[in-house]
């Protein structure tokens, strides 16, 4: 009898105004067949149209659930193929040689000997680090000052920080190269030397400046989220009251509490710099992304292997950071509860 009650409850949820058995039966018709071994004994135990129909209604609920699961699996499958398909094919392409019909990790071995690879990776890493340092040197004091002293300016600064999203990198680069052109008229002047340094092939200092602008929206968002998680004003006042100078407040109190936001900002910037092609290539430098494209024309499996490797590398960094940052953020949210 207890199961009968369960059936009634399920029917009520399905739609009480539906008028009971007649309303529920057709809905449960299809999936009901999928579970005859449950429905049949009950029909036998307590015969009667109404009871049978109630069980049909319950079948309808289960049917809807299984339909949902089916859709979920289908969508997951399609998305999975879309996302993983290229990666798996790339991997297959780099390790399987159809002519010799054999597997080999050779392309990954060759990679480190490939001309220009170590230099481009090193340059990209340096560019990323410089960009991150520049970005934080710019953003952290500005955003802290806005939080503490000029909260009204926050909206303005946020909209300015979002501007790079709507300026195309090509347009930005065009502007940058015309500015870089100014210094080249007057050989020997300090402007000429500065200009030359900015465009040095081994470490083009101009790129971090451009990248810092491109990464501004992401870094701003990440830092802003980090700032929101702590009550900056009270932490600053507590430490000032205990006798901390401003540099100590920044170093011992602000930075440790902004770590999560800064880490995610750094990762986003790193990812951006590693994948950036347009600006570097137009300005004629060869960091990692440009190197892949340039050397990818002739040498078969190698560039694909490089791309895969760089992808794995970014994932590793991302996981590391979300692990470190996640723990920190959890600690901060716990406090407020």
């Amino acid at each position: 009898m207890a199961r009968l009650v369960t059936g009634e409850v399920a029917e009520d949820r399905g739609g009480p105004e539906g008028g009971g058995p007649e309303g529920a039966a057709p809905e449960g018709g299809g999936p009901d067949r999928a579970m005859p071994e449950i429905a049949a004994p009950d029909r036998a135990a307590s015969p009667g149209r109404a009871v049978g129909a109630r069980w049909s209604a319950r079948g309808g609920v289960t049917g809807r659930l299984s339909r949902v699961r089916w859709w979920r699996a289908a969508i997951l499958g399609v998305v999975g193929i879309y996302l993983l398909g290229p990666l798996v094919s790339a991997l297959w392409f780099t390790v399987y040689n159809p002519r010799l019909r054999e597997f080999s990790l050779a392309p990954y071995g060759q990679l480190f000997g490939a001309s220009g690879f170590p230099a481009s990776v090193r340059m990209t890493f340096l560019l990323a680090l410089t960009t991150i340092a520049l970005e934080f040197a710019l953003l952290v004091p500005a955003m802290v000052a806005i939080r503490l002293r000029l909260p009204r300016l926050r909206g303005v600064v946020e909209s300015i920080a979002m501007v790079p999203l709507v300026v195309s990198p090509v347009a930005l680069t065009a502007g940058v190269s015309s500015v870089l052109g100014w210094g080249l008229n007057d050989q020997g002047s300090w402007i000429f030397r500065l200009d030359a340094d900015l465009q040095s092939q081994s470490f083009p200092l101009i790129l971090p400046f451009v990248y810092a602008i491109l990464a501004l929206p992401f870094a701003f968002r990440a830092l802003d989220a980090g700032l929101r998680a702590v009550d900056l004003k009270i932490l600053v006042e507590a430490s000032r009251g205990l006798g901390a100078s401003w540099p100590i407040v920044l170093w011992r109190v602000l930075l440790p509490n902004l770590r999560a936001g800064m880490l995610s900002g750094a990762v986003l910037t790193l990812a951006l710099v590693f994948g950036e092609y347009t600006v570097a290539s137009i300005l004629g430098f060869v960091p990692f992304a440009v190197w892949i494209v340039q050397d990818g024309q002739g040498s078969g499996q190698l560039p694909i292997a490089v791309s895969l490797l760089s992808l794995l590398l970014s994932w590793a960094v991302l996981f590391l950071v979300s692990f470190l940052g996640g723990r920190r953020a959890a600690a901060v949210t716990d406090r407020s509860s």
Partner: protein, 353 residues
């Protein structure tokens, strides 16, 4: 360390058109706990932040043992501050929080740890030093904040409504403990609160503020029994306002009784409001069909408070009056019964409405 005297003189601070402080004067004797009491928005926090150095006054001075410290930055004032909201450093343990100020003062690590443990012990949470703030309850966090403020041996302790974020039971307990620690250390303390009961129970003297000025600063009992102004009288404790008339230069007639007037004295003939404490109002039962009398009203509620019962009576003209009676007499005044006010023959304050 000998306790220091603190003096706030003629402090002024405006935020745009808002006068947060309008000539505040207050002096704390060494080792004294003064509660700064006033309604929300009267400038208490502003005053405390000026003393701490987080805020600059537009005019006036803060003196510590006679020395003007107004130009000093917060980092150089050696004051311990406990904030209203939780202010512990989330990335440091309780012990590290307490030791933070000592570390800045270059105290050696072992001495630092020992002092942190000693202070956590003092505020009643020894053994919790290794916990992070998010692992502590609100009350425990405020205890750590108190220990952190005291660790640097400040000359003055400043507390801005440190209990207002806590629930009632913890609040009472921590209130007593703050007082115990303060007496132990003999530290000059300014305790801001908007809760009059809290102020009266914790302080040596209570300073009542109104709109950025000091209304009265006196010991709790004096403040309650002899309030200097009508504002203080109404803000501290429960107060009835009953209509009366000045019948002489220093006599007011209220509910058929003539009482001596304290404080301001309007000219005879003036209609005034007389301020009466519930314990200064007696009641006598009246038969239901008595003649009309402005001093007679209907009993509305009786609130049992232990030894006394507070009875609310509504007079003919709508005025509500609360009277405290010994609980054994409460049965004489059932709800909807009639009762006559009998003010005790004591000096009263009057205000012109």
């Amino acid at each position: 360390m000998p306790a220091a005297g603190l003096e706030l003189s003629a402090l002024r601070r405006c935020y745009g058109a808002v006068r947060a402080l309008d000539g505040l004067e207050l002096a704390l004797a060494p080792g004294e706990l003064v509660a700064l009491l006033g309604p929300s928005g009267c400038g208490k926090t502003t005053a405390l932040r000026i003393v701490a150095g987080f805020e600059r006054p537009d005019a006036g001075a803060v003196r510590l043992d006679g020395a003007d410290i107004t130009p000093l930055s917060a980092a150089k004032r050696d004051m311990g501050m406990v904030f209203q909201s939780y202010s512990l450093f989330p990335h440091l343990t309780a012990a590290q929080n307490v030791a933070f100020g000592l570390r800045l003062r270059k105290t050696a690590a072992p001495a630092r740890a020992a002092r942190a443990e000693e202070l956590l012990e003092l505020v009643g949470i020894g053994g919790h030093g290794a916990r992070y703030p998010h692992q502590l309850s609100g009350g425990q966090q405020q205890r750590v904040a108190l220990a952190r403020a005291l660790a640097i041996r400040p000359k003055v302790l400043l507390l801005d409504e440190p209990l207002s974020a806590l629930d009632a039971q913890v609040r009472l307990q921590l209130r007593d403990e703050i007082r115990r620690v303060q007496l132990d250390l003999g530290i000059t303390t300014l305790f801001v609160t908007h809760d009059q009961e809290e102020a009266l129970s914790i302080a040596d003297r209570v300073a009542v503020m109104r709109s950025g000025r000091l209304e009265q600063c006196a010991a709790p009992a004096q403040l309650y029994q002899r309030p200097a102004t009508a504002f203080v009288a109404q803000f501290v404790g429960t107060m009835n306002r009953v209509r009366g008339t000045m019948v002489d230069t220093d006599l007011v007639e209220v509910a058929g009784h003539r009482l001596p007037v304290d404080g301001e004295r309007p000219v005879p003939g003036t209609k005034v409001e007389v301020l009466l404490r519930p314990e200064a109002v007696g009641l006598e039962a009246v038969p239901a069909r008595a003649a009309a009398d402005p001093a007679v009203g209907t009993v509305r509620t009786a609130t049992f408070l232990g030894a006394i019962t507070r009875i609310a009576v509504v007079l003919e003209d709508g005025t509500q009056v609360k009277a405290d009676l010994p609980s054994h007499r409460a049965s004489e005044f059932p709800a909807a019964g009639r009762a006559r006010l009998v003010p005790a023959a004591r000096p009263v304050l009057v205000i012109e409405p």
